[in-house]
Symmetry: C2
Subunit: 324 residues, 2 copies
Amino acid sequence: MKSTKELIAFLQEAVNHLEFKSQPAGLYEPLAYTMSLGGKRVRPLLCLMAYNLYKEDVETALNPALGIELFHNFTLLHDDVMDRSFMRRGKACVHVKWDENTAILSGDALQVVAYQYVAQAPAAVLPACLELFSRTALEVCEGQSYDMLFETKKDVGEEEYLEMIRLKTAVLLACSLKMGAILAGASEEDAQHLYDFGIHIGVAFQIKDDLLDVWGDPAIFGKAIGGDIMCNKKTFLLIHALKNADDKQRESLLHYITSDDIDRAEKVQAVTALYEAVGVKEECEAKMLYHQQLAMDALDALSVSEEKTVHLRELAESMMKRQM
Amino acid sequence: MKSTKELIAFLQEAVNHLEFKSQPAGLYEPLAYTMSLGGKRVRPLLCLMAYNLYKEDVETALNPALGIELFHNFTLLHDDVMDRSFMRRGKACVHVKWDENTAILSGDALQVVAYQYVAQAPAAVLPACLELFSRTALEVCEGQSYDMLFETKKDVGEEEYLEMIRLKTAVLLACSLKMGAILAGASEEDAQHLYDFGIHIGVAFQIKDDLLDVWGDPAIFGKAIGGDIMCNKKTFLLIHALKNADDKQRESLLHYITSDDIDRAEKVQAVTALYEAVGVKEECEAKMLYHQQLAMDALDALSVSEEKTVHLRELAESMMKRQM
């Protein structure tokens, strides 16, 4: 069984050697650019780790794993157009560096390339891999659709929010793990447990993201604290704060999240203080730990020996303890 | 063997019964809307006709054929965003009826749905079908990329133009036919001949399109004559006209195609007169007939009896004789 470090190195090498056609440059250069921006490659890593629970020849799972990473980058490319973002991982987004049409069309091509890689799964499991991948791809679109809808929706409930992040973030992590299991010929039960593990770490990961945006260490976080607060984003924290607040606190919170002309420092400080006053930090941390526990329970249910699951447990823990 | 009419009815029924998920409505309603706009469904028809040269159970080829039609409609949806078009088949484009983000995201989902249908090819031929489909999908993106590039490129040569329409239009027709052949278990040679047939009818079809835009019968054509002239589009006609023209004619032509403030009737009349003076109508008609002949030669080379190819020949002829 390979160490996480070995798998990351193996993956990084493969990502660095991804090759795209060269012409027309206006179509393919943005693909190479997008894939060169980096990222933790956590999705293909999860795919290889799941595969490696059952089989040693991880190279069999490499291309489908890369397909998922390519797909993930395609979604970022198009999301950045839809969200009017300017920067991605410290560099200009494709629609900024080139233009919007280039971003749309290159994204379309990147989705096709993602399918080309997934389609290199061995023929015996190809239909199952494709079925999982396409279903997940649609769910990711659904998540983005709900996310955009929630921007203008006044009352987003906790359940709706959780369903949105399940679709937008968690299902692709879950798909990565399940595809590793399918490629390795694992039982349907194990494949489902790994899928569930992915869902729960995905949800916990997103709650952690919301927490870091408010209480992260600015020196480590890598971007300005309070970004979600400044753009009035409906995060898990805000939804809980609005629920927990008394009338006066709610009025104050609504004042801040519907005003765009308040000084950044003042707004971030005031909303953070309100969050702390109504106890959402503790509540959200508890919710995160709850999903982390469910993730560990899913690993406990696997048919493989517990020691084999150590790497996945460590990865899940590092994702929750991260400061950036 | 089924008649073309029977196959069209079979396909239309299937397209009418396509079902999409219902939620989120903002994601899936545009898909149903797009597929309800109509169209001649010529790509899935070609797929079924090719299949039917070898086998009778055309329902086996239905889902992959629908996948190609879904993909074609996805490209129209995103092309309309990129080209800033307002109308498609007499109705508002998705990005007009909804908004641009909806069009981008629904298009992404439609491409996934297209793959879901193609992936229903029998397991034995699934890798070959996917390989063909993905390669073609990338080529279609390449065609759109060149088409956008040519809008601002000053000197587009005939070869470049032909390569662009091969990619943008012809390869998907060719893919439809070849996929029918692969699904039916035809020989590689036959599959390639059918592919070539598709390429040549595609190129001829596009030249016909350019001709109709200038010399079509306004009462039949369905849209205003001279649309390409008004938006200074680099068509096969314009490329040939610039090549054939003497200095004075070229100067006049360049004057018209670089001016946006000339009265429509005057501009269309003047450019049409220049086209006629330099003989491009005859030249382009000859080029169209040349590709039509190559298409027929490809059918001649098939291993099936000539009488079986009658439907394909008739379809190709009707595509060239069409007035709209």
